[in-house]
């Protein structure tokens, strides 16, 4: 019975640790999107319909 309590405690410790790991996860997809946007502008890869006005997209609430 005691070992069960111990392993339950261990398990919850592991789960808590898992939460921390998830919390510092790097948002690779968002980073890729940001990189694409910047590279497209630096290298002029996508000719925008409206001449270079990056302020056209509405600011999203965070």
């Amino acid at each position: 019975m005691r070992s069960l309590t111990v392993s339950a405690g261990l398990a919850s410790a592991l789960v808590l640790q898992g939460c921390v790991t998830i919390n510092i996860y790097f948002p690779a997809a968002a980073a890729e999107k940001a990189a694409d946007k910047i590279i497209d502008e630096v290298w002029q890869l996508k000719k925008p319909e409206q001449p270079a006005s990056p302020s056209s997209n509405t600011p999203q609430s965070k």
């Binding site: 789960v15 898992g18 998830i22 919390n23 996860y25 999107k33 990189a35 290298w43």
Partner: protein
């Protein structure tokens, strides 16, 4: 960013969250700061000069997100100094760009991950004929 709240620290929600990490794709990184815009403009301007050196193979894209003089012989003697200056200035801007994006998102520790992401995307978007370093560090013609 409020992952802890959503996950409630349970296995199942955590797993579901990982599976549904497409939700992360929705979140955007902040890149609209004056510092980042200035760097972007500076790099865009420089690219008009750098492009021909990419084309001739004199300059290539490194696997770590920078540019490097790959073949000095592809540059006329009179232009060597110019190309060296361009490469140095470009790398300074790139380094600052990666740092600024990390900082703008309140995560300076992301700088290396951002640099790695850019490294891959610069290469993916490079024109055919340009040189880049493959994973082993060898120059490869795209």
């Amino acid at each position: 960013m409020r992952i802890m709240n959503i996950a409630r620290c349970g296995w199942l929600p955590a797993l579901l969250l990982l599976l549904a990490s497409g939700a992360w794709a929705q979140a955007n990184l902040e890149v609209n700061t004056p510092a980042i815009s200035a760097l972007q403009a500076s790099m865009q301007k420089r690219h008009t000069e750098l492009a021909s050196f990419f084309g001739s193979g004199a300059v290539g894209l490194t696997r770590d997100g920078f540019v490097a003089l790959r073949d000095a012989n592809a540059v006329a003697l009179a232009q060597r100094q110019q190309v060296n200056g361009l490469v140095a200035a470009e790398n300074q801007d790139r380094s600052a760009l990666y740092r600024e994006i990390a900082r703008a998102n309140g995560k300076p520790e992301w700088e290396n991950d951002i640099r790695t992401t850019f490294a891959q995307r610069w290469i993916d978007k490079a024109q055919g004929g340009w040189y880049y370093q493959n994973n082993a560090g060898a120059w490869t013609r795209k």
